[in-house]
């Protein structure tokens, strides 16, 4: 299962993580986000211990979404050593995400 990221745990869980982190920015009003949700869970189980994978609800965690300039959802950002290293807009295939995450 994917983790849940929030404004409160973002620094600890994402920015200070020793492993790369995938963050899925989503909201309940967004249809394509609903479609991505199970895909993100699959990415989490497939990638195993190599990276962290989680979801961030932009409605409840506006600060993080704003900080990274999220203006369209779903947006997926991959972080490494606290930096935004890859940003993907729109729904993505699981294979693409796993591959990108392995390579960040």
């Amino acid at each position: 299962m994917a983790l849940e990221f929030t404004d409160a745990n973002f620094e600890e869980e994402v920015l200070k993580s020793e492993k790369p982190v995938l963050v899925d920015f989503w909201a309940s009003w967004c249809g394509p986000c609903q479609m991505m949700s199970p895909v993100i869970d699959e990415v989490a189980s497939e990638i195993g211990d190599v990276a962290k994978v989680g979801k961030l609800n932009v409605d409840e965690n506006a600060e993080s979404a704003q900080k990274y300039g999220v203006m369209s959802i779903p947006t997926i950002i991959m972080f490494k050593d606290g930096k935004n290293v890859k940003q993907l807009v729109g729904a993505q295939a699981k294979e693409v995400l796993v591959e990108e995450l392995k390579n960040v």
Binding site: A27, W29, C30, G31, P32, C33, Q34, M35, P38, D59, G69, V70, M71, S72, I73, T75, Q87, V89, G90, A91, A93, K94, E95
Partner: protein, 301 residues
Amino acid sequence: MKDLIILGAGPAGLGASVYASRYQIKHVILGEEVGGYLNEIHKIENYLGFEAISGMELGMKMKAHVESLGGTLKQETALKIEKIEGGFKVTTNKEEYQARSLLYAIGTSARKLNVEGEKEFLGKGVSYCATCDGPFFRNKKVVVVGGGNSAAMAALMLAEQSNNVTLVHRGKELSCSPNYFDRMKNSEWITIEYNKNIARVEGANVVERIILKDEKDEEIVVEANGIFVEIGSIPNQQMLVDLGVEINKNGFIVTDQAQLTSIEGIYAAGDITTNSNGFRQIITAAAEGAVAALEIFKRLK
């Protein structure tokens, strides 16, 4: 081998499944997104039985209805369709499925503007889904491109949270329904620009302004942080074209009154077909799905 594979989980595919279940047609629905394009509709006010409902909620209700009758939905992406002995084989990103018949109902995708800055600012102010991304533009200036119902709906929705919405239309008259037009005209927050095209999208890191061109080729600058593109759709028919199914000059799948395509055993329903007089509505999609299910039932018997 199943009786039927339904490709697409929008109103056409789900509508077909309801009838297929009642006719005891063994089937599976393969779709990327339950509800399909419904999910991008902020408010639906023209589907019989619902005075006003969000697209996503209606999609969820349709899904629940399908599942209550025993329909199986798989969130998978179909990649290839092949003709096999006695039917068809569909390969998805996860599995392979075989069935005696096929209903193709995967709808359409948003048409792009193809102007400078559109790709570059995707997710930075350029959007194809006002329902998804509108909330990020609260109290900001936005532009909506298009003249049909989708554009009108987007403008009206955006005007609920922004006091500066500019609708840009290339023609001299909108094609949206009169009630949308009246609501836009009565909104103090919506301005309509006729006879103008989008020349390009500009900004530093995010969208800052939209450059329009009028019929004299003169440029007009509109300050805006968001641009919502609602200029129609293009049919996702490639997999059927590869099989040799006939399409019309606009790319829609040619179907007969019973939703049969030019290939025996392959049916199509919803926004992707030439039926319902090109009136791409939820009610017509669901109806085409129902008609197809009946025909498939007759053929399997």
